[in-house]
Symmetry: C2
DNA sequence: TCCTGTGAATTCGTTCACAGCC
DNA sequence: GGCTGTGAACGAATTCACAGGA
């Protein structure tokens, strides 16, 4: 399911190049997955391809967009206008894809009142009113770790039902709220893990390694 | 394995609060996972807990850090100093966690030469030299989608072995290179999907839904 | 008694392989 | 002949459940 957006991106790209049809094989290659997986994923949509031919690009774009709820636009808010929040607010790709920024929120009195990307930053205390007024369902959280859970609780109470969390903490939210997280340092640490593992492997190949825990552990982890 | 960084964060937090011991149950709850999973994950490290007691927090921090390769620091570079690249360059959490920014790279002549976070932005043409000179192994890619693959190829040729990609494209890299991606619009689209699904479910409960494809499809997807 | 470590059971996602249709 | 749709086989990850040590 998290693959649908990837397919969609490939499809849009192909449509722009004027291609009208695409095979599961081609879509798979461009998306970095297996072709059987593509066919199975698409079969869940009930979208039909044509045997012997492939999938109609335009039609599939329509189906996937609809499945993803992209045929309507979603009002969102960005909470926390530090470095990252500012970058997100200025990011063009937001609106293009049907995610309209309806409000910007911050707790810092110096930030409140400033114009960012054509929108005035409101105080976090306004969140209840703004969420209701603009029917905001999605919040992007770019606040410091220490305040993140409190802000999340407040947003949920205000009526938010989806949160995209950039703060480096594990948030707890009620069942009816969707939560996704983007965590820079976790990503880097994962890369670090594989870097280190390659270093250990290299030293083993060269025979310079001493028997070590890392060595014993080495084979237990998946390939990448 | 991608859970180790999460455990580590929880452990550090507990250590700071002066706790010396933690049970798999408590660690699991704070990490948002099942306790058996925690025990199994930790057993791969060869770290031993104490039956009847739990795990020693300090010792576990040491073990996990070592496994993740965080006992050394990694030289990294940020490529692309648009909104996002700037925010990343100014992000403090980088250096704190052992990821030293050794170079900033951009293709825009107006950006090259500027100081960002105390480092002068170099031209992308310098990447071969800088990667070698600073032994940079990890690159953070914050360039526009259109140029991302070319830049990635170049970085790989220069000797980079890990890439954290923020550009909204599927990158292809050789097997010996690790690749992670962070894609804002994909995350939003996934949230959109669940938002929409909730809307459909609500209309079904209210009896206002017409029989529809979305309705038929509804049950096929995982819970969240 | 409490909590870890781990085989066994289960669930989930992926891939294979081929029947069926264009 | 080419390509989709899908049952069946497979493999990986998760969870159960309990033996055994502190």
């Amino acid at each position: 399911m998290s693959r649908l957006p990837v397919y969609l991106r490939v499809l849009v790209d192909r449509a722009e190049r004027g291609e009208h049809t695409i095979s599961s094989e081609a879509l798979a290659a461009a998306s970095g997955v297996n072709s059987a997986k593509v066919r199975k994923d698409l079969s869940y949509l009930g979208s039909y391809g044509t045997r012997g031919v492939g999938y109609d690009v335009e039609y599939l774009i329509h189906q996937v967009s609809r499945e993803l709820g992209l045929t309507q636009d979603w009002a969102t808010c960005i909470v926390g206008l530090g470095n990252l929040g500012l970058a997100l607010a200025n990011y063009q790709g937001f609106a293009e894809r049907g995610f309209r920024i309806a409000a910007l929120l911050d707790a810092d009195p110096d930030t409140v009142g400033q114009q960012v990307a054509g929108i005035e930053v409101a105080h976090i205390d306004e969140c209840e009113r703004l969420v209701k007024e603009h029917e905001i369902s999605i919040a992007v959280l770019a606040v410091p770790a220490s305040g993140a859970q409190a802000v999340a609780d407040r947003l949920v109470a205000a009526g938010i039902t989806s949160i995209l969390n950039f703060a480096p903490v594990v948030l707890a939210v009620p069942d009816h709220v969707s939560l996704r997280k983007v965590d820079l340092s976790i990503e880097l640490q994962i890369l670090s893990f594989y870097e280190q593992r390659r270093a250990v492997e290299a030293s083993v190949r060269e025979g310079t390694a001493r028997a070590s825990l890392a060595e014993v552990t080495r084979r237990k982890w998946p390939k990448r």
